[in-house]
Amino acid sequence: MSAIRFDDVWKEYGDHIVLERITMEVEPRAFIALVGPSGCGKTTLLRMLLGEEQPTRGQILVDGKPLPGEPDADRGVVFQRYSVFPHLTVLQNVMLGRELRDARFTGRLFGAARRAAADEAMKLLAEVGLAGQESKYPSALSGGMQQRLALAQAIMRGPKILLLDEPFGALDPGIRADIHLLMKRLWNETHLTVVMVTHDLSEAFGLATRVIALERQRNRPEERERYGATISRDLEIFPRRSAELRSPVQPAPIGTTRSGKEHQPGRPGALVLKEQP
């Protein structure tokens, strides 16, 4: 759950300006979809949020603080490919984040700590529909299952922001619809601010609270190098969509509210996650 602020961000590679004058506020728990033609810098923007690239000018603030210059555990990511580790089983992939956090030197947990992490990972795997697959290697999973695994793996570490780089672009339509439902549920039940790059407009409008289009304003050949893409549309989805905030104190009794019914902790299918401090 983090607010993100882009403060007049530019990205240039040598003489080539890719992005210019990016200024926007992203409220906590928003679900932003970045759309635009290919080569317009959507992925560059995401990589800057990730910390893999630095803005040439301007700055990106998360909760008022400048973004660290390298990726860290506050920002989870799911790529279109290579998001899961081929040498680890499904369960090991999900447990990895916990093991890296709790075992600084060996990167592995043993005994009771391992069993606790495995239990939690198994619950999460059941949530994303991968129960029974835990001892397989990712290569034995379908593309949709691999992306479910990547989501579970990212969420297990408890990031504040989840970055998605065309995560469902390579999936069949039916499978994509299923994983969209899962994505919605995860967004509702965790405390994530989500930024998703996609070139599928129906996906953008179907999932996001806000759709942001990047576009080059000047596209003549002699202008291409010197003018980058910038935000051309910033659309709030209507009717307004927002993440269902779970009350930290006392959940409403079952059946009294629609949201309470949907996301009652303990109900099968509900995601129970501890908020990271």
Binding site: D72, V77, R157
Partner: protein, 272 residues
């Protein structure tokens, strides 16, 4: 049907596999028979019985001078050198390959140096090794290490760099430090590739072993064949060469099986 579409079945495949071996054997024994018919004392192409006799003497009869079985002690000596040299090379290549492949700074520091050293012809260094380290085991092991290590480091660093960038970023978003990335992401994925690299270096390793043993040694398979060369003892040399080939082949098969059993996930990654 076009040749590109004809696939041999299981049985045909076996016969095809055996055919070249059979042809070589037939050519040898025909030639050997012809020469021995002309001169029964010919030493160049000995007949099977005389080779069997020689092997019996080398492998199964106690050598009166050393009190041991020559072929066994030669094999132990050679495999000991080969094994210790390759163990050193493998461990060093694993560590340095990961460091160079993963850390851009280390790559800038050591990458060009390793590339240049891998161009040095190792046999040209052999006299230096003999002068500096003496004629004992160390210089032979050092030759094999020098001959194989730079190529192994270079290949392995390249394999580490070929890991998708996404994986390294993903690991960082799961909170991994550089050390943890090396330990949990890079090393486990490098190990099966290390076996590939090692298999490729087995040929050069045997070459350097035989060369070092031929020049200065008092035991070993290479020493033996160069020793009996003085007596034109082809009946010993040919079985020894076959034995060396068999050993190399078995090591190669062993590594392949190890790769398949220890890293079941690797086959599908490589197929991509």
């Amino acid at each position: 049907m076009r040749l590109v579409n004809i696939r041999p079945g299981r049985q045909t495949r076996f016969y095809l596999l055996a055919l070249p071996f059979l042809l070589v054997a037939i050519a040898y024994f025909v030639g050997s028979g012809a020469r021995l018919a002309q001169n029964p004392n010919d030493k160049l192409l000995p007949a099977l019985p005389s080779m069997v006799q020689a092997v019996k003497q080398m492998a199964f009869e106690v050598d009166p001078r050393t009190g041991g079985y020559l072929m066994a002690s030669d094999t132990v000596a050679s495999l000991g050198r080969l094994g210790s040299a390759l163990a050193i090379s493998t461990v060093a290549a694993l560590v340095l390959g990961i460091v160079i492949g993963l850390l851009p700074g280390a790559n800038a520091l050591l990458g060009p140096f390793v590339s240049v050293t891998s161009m040095v012809p190792p046999l040209a260094l052999l006299p230096i090794l003999f002068i500096v380290m003496g004629l004992g085991e160390n210089s032979k092991i050092a030759l094999i290490v020098i001959g194989t290590l730079p190529c192994m480091i270079r290949d392995l660093a390249m394999k580490v760099q070929e890991l998708p960038r996404e994986q390294i970023v993903k690991a960082q978003t799961l909170g991994a430090s550089t050390w943890q990335i090396a330990l949990r992401i890079a090393m486990p994925q490098t190990l099966p590739r290390l076996i590939d690299v090692l298999r490729l270096q087995l040929g050069p390793a045997w070459l350097f072993l035989i060369a070092a043993e031929a020049i200065a040694s008092d035991s070993g398979l290479g020493y033996r064949i160069f020793l009996v060369r003085r007596y034109l003892a082809m009946d010993v040399i040919i079985p020894y060469v076959a034995w060396i080939t068999l050993l190399a082949f078995l090591i190669d098969v062993g590594l392949r099986v190890l790769q398949r059993k220890a890293f079941p996930w690797f086959a599908s990654v490589r197929a991509e």
